[in-house]
């Protein structure tokens, strides 16, 4: 039994301050509302002989200022909450990237070094960690109360979430979007390890191949290398140096080649064609699983970027 929640991430304490701010302002408003209500109903009960004096003045000025003052205070809290949210939305560029695939009813995590785990996520302390998440079936939600972070995990697209754990320990991981019968069983834990322990964990759970190396084999097996090779750019653009760089499209716009763009281009190649190329690539929708997609993305990422950050 406990009535407090661990603050185990960089933004946990600030989220708590924000919530405490709301509690304080709400308590003040409630004190005024309940206080006035109780005071009036006692003082002006029907059989009280107290002199009511003249009719209460309809002071619109009082009404407007009372409302405006409250709104202003809450507006301050709105701005504070929004700034924190924007920060939570944009992961730092040096974040350690871990891929998460959710399915009814388990969490699968794939580390860059090829380590895999189910319903557990090992992360190093004091390092920003970015999760790239997708679902194989329905909508799930990745929620770690101790980190004060939460994000829906949707099928058919990547959602990202980042945090920086700053306390070593084991914390609850909950699915917080109803996903069917096993929803309440879709819980796991996030294990925050010190740097040496994390290195040890990586070494013990390492496989022969990293995620990118697996991806390279898939790149050949699915036939991608037939066109996207390093030797010619006749039928398809080379993918070397693609990741993170701007891509001019045939419709005149430009997109950044991030995880989402690469995934979409594998599944729906005709939706965004690179300028000066013919739309000849077939769709791999339904052919490549979410797990293999992550490996391909990791491989393409490993081919480097022209504009390193």
């Amino acid at each position: 039994m406990k009535f407090s929640l661990a603050e185990a991430s960089a933004n946990a304490a600030e989220t708590d301050y924000l919530i405490a701010g709301f509690v304080a302002v709400s308590a003040a408003v409630l004190a005024v509302v309940f206080g006035l209500m109780l005071f009036y109903v006692v003082r002006y009960r029907h059989n009280s002989p107290i002199d009511r004096g003249q009719i209460a003045e309809r002071s619109f000025r009082f009404e407007v200022s009372w409302t405006a003052a409250t709104l202003l205070i809450f507006f301050g809290l709105f701005i504070w909450g929004s700034i924190m949210y924007v920060r939570l939305y944009l992961p730092p560029s040096n974040a350690l990237k871990i891929y998460v695939v959710a399915k009814q009813w388990m969490w699968k995590a794939e580390h860059a070094g090829g380590q895999r785990e189910i319903d557990t996520l090992h992360v190093p302390v004091n390092k920003p960690v970015e999760l790239v998440m997708t679902s194989q079936d329905v909508i799930h939600d990745f929620f770690v109360p101790a980190f004060r972070v939460k994000r829906d995990v949707l099928p058919g697209q990547y959602e990202t979430l980042w945090f920086r754990a700053d306390e070593v320990g084991t914390y609850h991981l909950f699915c917080s979007q109803l996903c069917g019968t096993g929803h309440a069983a879709m819980i796991g834990s996030v294990v925050v390890l010190s740097d040496p322990d994390y290195a040890k964990w990586l070494a013990q759970n390492g496989t022969s191949d990293t995620l990118a190396q697996d991806g390279k084999q898939l790149f050949i097996r699915y036939g991608c290398s037939g066109c996207h090779n390093d030797h010619g750019t006749v039928r398809a653009p080379s993918l070397v140096g693609l990741y993170g760089s701007p891509v001019p499209l045939s419709n005149g716009t430009t997109v950044t080649a991030d995880d989402r763009y690469i995934r979409d281009s594998i599944l729906q190649p005709r939706s965004r064609i690179v300028a000066s190329y013919a739309p000849v690539m077939p769709s791999f929708q339904g052919v490549i699983s979410e797990g293999d997609l992550l490996k391909l993305v990791a491989y393409i990422e490993s081919l480097g970027s022209e504009n390193p950050p």
């Binding site: 009535f3 919530i19 006035l36 009719i55 709105f78 939570l88 939600d141 099928p155 699915c175 309440a184």
Partner: protein, 548 residues
């Protein structure tokens, strides 16, 4: 109906006309009636049945959560229970409770009309409601549905077992009942006001019914379209929401909340209206800031259409959308805050009596304020990231929906009961029920705020053991709440047979509905009344002594 028949023999209208209750005693005279008052009774009986069905599901939910592993062995059963609770309470109790049931009875009386503008459509509304309700109940009891009342895709369209299509058909059909009633109310308020009943002489309850009706007419069709698309995808595998077949799951959430957020105001606006009637009546004083309160109803209805995205801050909508929806959500809180302020202003220098309706209204002010303030926590983006989809949200909307709206419904029922039934209920026991409801409610739902902050997610059949103490407290509160809800069922029924006859105006309240006999005769008014003053023309404090 035999109860009513027995009652009829003893009711004789003071003017020698039969009361609406005595005007025909056959089953047919009830089932084919076009009298708005009788239709209100039909609704009242139906929603009472729905309320106790939805309440029983809630009781089983709280029973399950007493122990961490779940008292009910199966998660399937638990998921079906909370879906049943949500669907019944939202669409078959809260939406029709105050607007359709109480509104049907008092709206024509309040404007001095003989009936609604379209009495036959009014009866049709009830039949649509019953048809939709019967379909939904069949779907819920013959197998059930486990998607929750929100039917998020693609869970509902492609993965969930059960009678999803049948259930959404039931909701779809009952939606037409809402639309027809909304239209009927709008036309009635525009066309059938008594001479001298200008817009600013209308009681606030009518302003809130008008706003509610506008939302019903505009938002319910969007729900109908959403549910239709859902059924299409489920039956014919047309890719609308499921990304595997080319759909977009966020589209479902946008469409669903475009209805369901305004629907929150369908449920709460009439409650705000009821409280704005009860507070002046039992303070013996004019409503403070009448025009502010009236226009706040309209403002809530309008702004309420632009905040649906605040349900989706962690769902994957764009950053900019989230910031804008968050800001708009603060604006919708303003008119609600103004109303609370004006109720307090009305109490000031009043002659306050503590009859049961007033206790419900005072309880409403407190609980609605708490529900509103905790809504502001959830409207703040970073706070919502932590609190979203936890018990904090559950507690927040139950403070508005149960602490607010159900209190308002019971307040309205106790306020107009003498008019509806022609009988006086036992006062002390009614006050005791009101107090018990307030205490039981807080014990049930306050611990859930803490549970939510600690990270307990919604819709969990089982949970980690550290949450147990708070869950047990909540379940204990639910027991008290259940007793408090059963009490009116008994003493109000008792009053039908044994209660003293009610005078025309038992509360010394203003308003045209109190100028007809209790219960009114079928045509409401012998002569169409002429209105010469505002709705709350109580004696001004300091000028004369009112009644004691």
């Amino acid at each position: 109906m035999s109860q009513t028949a027995a009652l009829n023999e003893r009711i004789a209208s003071p003017l020698g006309r039969p009361s609406y209750l005595a005007d025909g005693v056959t089953l047919k005279s009830w089932l084919l009636t076009t009298d708005h008052k009788r239709i209100a009774i039909l609704y009242m009986i139906s929603i009472t049945v729905f309320f106790f069905l939805g309440g029983s599901a809630a009781a089983l939910i709280r029973y399950n959560l007493i122990v961490p592993e779940g008292m009910l062995r199966s998660a399937e059963t638990y998921d079906r229970l909370f879906t049943m609770h949500g669907v019944i309470m939202v669409w078959f109790f809260l939406v029709p409770a105050v607007p359709v049931t109480i509104g049907n009875f008092v709206l024509p009386l309040m404007i001095g009309a003989h009936d609604l503008a379209f009495p036959k459509i009014n009866l049709l509304s009830w039949y649509l409601f019953i048809a939709g309700g019967a379909l939904a109940l069949y779907a819920l009891f013959a197998g059930g549905v486990d998607t929750g009342w929100t039917f998020y895709a693609p869970l509902s369209t492609d993965y969930a077992e059960g009678n999803v299509v049948l259930l959404v058909t039931g909701i779809f059909v009952s939606g037409f009942s809402s639309i027809a009633t909304g239209l009927n109310f709008i036309v009635t308020i525009h066309r059938l006001r008594a001479p001298g009943m200008t817009w600013y002489r209308m009681p606030i309850f009518l302003w809130s019914l008008y706003s509610t009706s506008v939302i019903m007419v505009l938002a319910t069709p969007v729900l109908a379209i959403t549910l239709l698309l859902l059924a299409f995808e489920r039956i014919f595998h047309v890719g609308v929401f499921d990304p595997r077949i080319g759909g977009d799951p966020l589209l479902f959430q946008h469409m669903f909340w475009f209805y369901s957020h305004p629907a929150v105001y369908i449920m709460i606006l009439p409650g705000l209206g009821v409280v704005s009637e009860i507070i002046p009546a039992f303070s013996g004083k004019e409503l403070f800031g009448y025009k502010f309160v009236a226009w706040c109803s309209i403002a809530i209805a309008v702004i309420g259409f632009f905040v649906w995205g605040h349900h989706m801050f962690v769902a994957g909508q764009s950053l900019y959308a989230s910031v804008v929806f968050s800001m708009l959500s603060y604006f919708v809180a303003v008119p609600s805050a103004i109303k609370v302020f004006n109720w307090l202003g009305t109490l000031h220098k009043g002659y306050i009596r503590f009859d049961a309706p007033m206790l419900y209204a005072l309880g409403f002010i407190g609980l609605f304020t708490m529900g509103g303030l905790t809504g502001l926590f959830l409207a703040a983006l970073a706070a919502d990231v932590h609190l979203h989809d936890t018990y904090f949200v559950v507690a927040h909307f139950h403070y508005i929906m149960v602490g607010g709206m159900v209190s308002a419904y019971f307040g309205a029922l106790h306020y107009w009961w003498p008019k509806i039934s022609g009988r006086i209920y036992p006062d002390m026991i009614a006050r005791a029920a009101a107090l018990l409801m307030f205490l039981g409610f807080n014990l049930t739902f306050f611990p859930q705020f803490i549970l939510g902050y600690l990270g307990m997610p919604r819709r969990y059949h089982s949970y980690p053991p550290e949450f147990q103490v708070l869950h047990v407290l909540s379940s204990a509160g639910a027991t008290i709440l259940a007793v408090a809800y059963l009490m009116p069922l008994f003493y109000l029924t008792w009053s039908l047979f044994r209660g003293a006859g009610a005078p025309a105006n038992p509360w010394d309240a203003k308003g045209l509905e109190w100028q007809t006999p209790s219960p009114p005769f079928t045509a409401n008014f012998a002569v169409t009344p002429v209105v010469t003053e505002g709705p709350y023309a109580y004696p001004t404090p300091g000028t004369s002594q009112p009644h004691v």
